[in-house]
Symmetry: C2
Subunit: 422 residues, 2 copies
């Protein structure tokens, strides 16, 4: 690594450590839920860092932050690079944050060259922090990139409510985001995102750089059983309509059915809300968030049939009523072929043999790509594949590799050396 | 009913409506969790009402409220009557509140006679509001009566924490209760509690007054499965240790096992806390509150064996670790025989044929009785047996019947006409 690259890696480490302290607690990782006070603090650090580096800051009505480098003038096209600063509860430091800050470092690096007149881009560049990628506080996930790309209406996004009944609109207002600032860049010509793999494929293959070809499909179901509150003591068993019992049977049956018939599908029930939640009151309403992920949409459809029948059976056996609140499919995405080629070349130029692979998880780059913005997703290794956990880790040399490749890709794209091929 | 009784019933209705508005929301019943702001407001209304009627107010360190009528001087014995003003989340109006306010009405009635020198009691009387009977916000339930009776150490009670991590001590301080006021009466000679049945036995038998002989036993288990947080997408299924899946299997197996082998036992899992609770993170910790109720302690013990084995099996199958945080038995209580006789006679004197019955639920009177304070528990009917639900209802004529019997019992006890026989 040359000394400039070392300088940028050191700069990335400094800002990464600074932002990672926001929402961190010893042994519990980082909790920086979207539009929380912690998210607001991280956004302010990011904005200040970018502004001091020469960027013009803007945000749109859903809170997506843009650090803009207007290198090529008003009429020039835009390149975006970024990810998200929100985290899961007790999440890791790298997920999302690495992508935003590495893009920021790359942009500052290129901006220094622009100012020294060593680099004359034909396009403008914006570093983007997308709102509520995680979907931990507000569902659906990918909220900010979904609104920007047109998949999710703004009004619908702003009226999402968290578990405490607070709308995204109110939460954003509480951290000072109340409508668009103006000066938000238009749809870009290309979007590039660096992210941690959250799996073991790179490590097993002995590679540092992954070039994502596409993603798995995901079917997400939000299912509610509605019973009736009653005293857990005297109420005769025959009179009970226990929504938690129904949900428990539903969760157990979901796993048993998919494990038996479609063991290669990834599946989970990871969020459950019950009302009331008192040891002495039979649960009246139980809502469960199920996920089913795989490559083949038709298989997700087939796999869901017996699951829905099992949910109905649980309702019938417990005297509860089943409501399927949502049952949505995220189609598998294919990332942009031209950008994959450019990313692969950049990796090789930096000395890393790239590995093409698929992402099981959704990312902002997938939302952009699916809306017609040619997008690239670059992976660096996650130790032991640990993700959404305080022990999430990417080694410094892998971070440096990712930063070098990202900087190389952004330089080429800002030079205008790219035409989308889909 | 004579005009004095009608006047007292009208007075009870007025104060009952006043207090029932605290924490009430249309269609959602009453939410007045222990030591909440709403509980504080209800306590203040109760204290003001009693003080205006001539009572001396005191409270102990766990927040039990005593409205004292020092009729017979410092050296006289005490009779207590009361129940609790806290409710379940979205609970009913009658559970607990009826018992406190009916005791208050009865005490004011008797106090009027004392002042007119028509009634010369040999004992003092206190109307008591016990803290956190419900166990909705803090577990275990019967907290205040448990501390008073010596079953629960004060320090342990004050350090209980709610779901938000707030200690009972801090919650009490927030509503102005910070240590004992002084002047709290000593252990009473007898305790009497009027309560709604929360079942259908009285209605089915066509009776207005139930005299509780004793209670069922209850086994309460707090069980935790500990797995590991991970991304619900890319994490290979074989790597997952899903605590919610384990809990779901545990809840489903608990019901299936008991329903098959001990169908007459009442059982429930009604509280569940999962961490984190995000759709995209495999659940790391799932804690479930189980209850098993029946008459026979030996049967509760036998019934628990295969259940614990099923919990272990769920842990083994999901790669999680099982912790039995608590597994406590509440012995079946037998209420005081002498007080049962006095209560039965009082019912007949008021024109109601009493029905002896058993209570499935625990009540403050059970905590007192189990600690050696002779106690009586009087039931009035609950429409359709609905309890811990906004539609909980006891008809006005049943409330009046309960008040008349309670007043008659307290008059006899205050006269000194009682020696405990156990």
């Amino acid at each position: 690594m040359d000394s400039a690259a070392q300088k940028h890696a050191a700069s990335l480490t400094a800002i990464f450590d600074h932002i990672s302290a926001v929402g961190a607690r010893a042994g519990e990782g980082v909790t920086r839920l979207a539009a929380s006070a912690e998210d607001g603090a991280a956004r302010a650090i990011f904005a200040d860092w970018m502004a001091r580096g020469g960027a013009r800051l803007a945000h749109d009505a859903v809170g997506n932050q843009f650090a803009c480098f207007d290198w090529a003038g008003e009429n020039a096209a835009w390149i975006f690079a970024g990810s998200h600063l929100d985290t899961q509860p007790r999440g890791g430091r790298f997920d999302g944050t690495l992508g935003v800050l590495a893009a920021g470092c790359a942009a500052l690096d290129l901006h220094t060259e622009v100012q020294a007149d060593r680099f004359r881009p034909r396009h403008n560049l914006a570093v983007v922090n997308w709102t509520n990628e995680e979907g931990a506080r507000y569902q659906p996930s990918l909220t900010g990139s979904g609104v920007f790309s047109g998949a999710l209406p703004l009004r619908e996004a702003l009226s999402l409510t968290d578990g405490a009944g607070i709308t995204l609109s109110d939460a954003l207002a509480a951290i000072g985001i109340d409508g668009e600032t103006g000066g938000v860049p238009p749809r870009p010509k290309a979007y590039v995102e660096l992210h941690v793999e959250q799996g073991r494929i790179l490590t097993v293959a002995g590679r540092r750089i992954g070039v994502v070809e596409g993603t798995w499909a995901a079917r997400k179901m939000m299912v509610r059983w509605i019973g009736r509150a009653a005293h857990t003591g005297p109420t005769p068993m025959a009179d009970r309509r226990d929504a938690l019992l129904a949900a428990a049977q539903g969760v157990a049956a979901f796993e048993a059915l998919i494990a038996a018939r479609h063991p290669h599908l990834h599946r989970s029930a990871a969020r459950l809300v019950i009302e009331p939640n008192s040891p002495n009151v039979v649960v009246e309403r139980a809502t469960v968030w199920f996920e089913l992920r795989g490559l083949d949409v038709a298989e997700l459809d087939r796999a869901g049939q017996p699951v829905l029948a099992a949910f109905e059976k649980a309702a019938a056996e417990t005297g509860t009523r089943l409501e399927i609140i949502a049952d949505t499919l995220r189609e598998p995405a294919g990332m942009d072929i031209g950008l994959m080629a450019i990313t692969g070349e950049a990796a090789r130029a930096c000395g890393f043999e790239p590995l093409p692979l698929r992402s099981v998880a959704g990312h902002d780059a997938v939302a952009l790509q699916n809306s017609g913005v040619p997008s690239a997703l670059i992976f660096v290794p996650s130790v032991d594949g640990i993700a959404h956990h305080p022990e999430e880790l990417t080694h410094p040399e892998d971070v440096e590799a990712g930063l070098a490749v990202l900087t190389t890709v952004l330089r080429r794209l800002a030079e205008g050396d790219f035409d989308a091929e889909r």
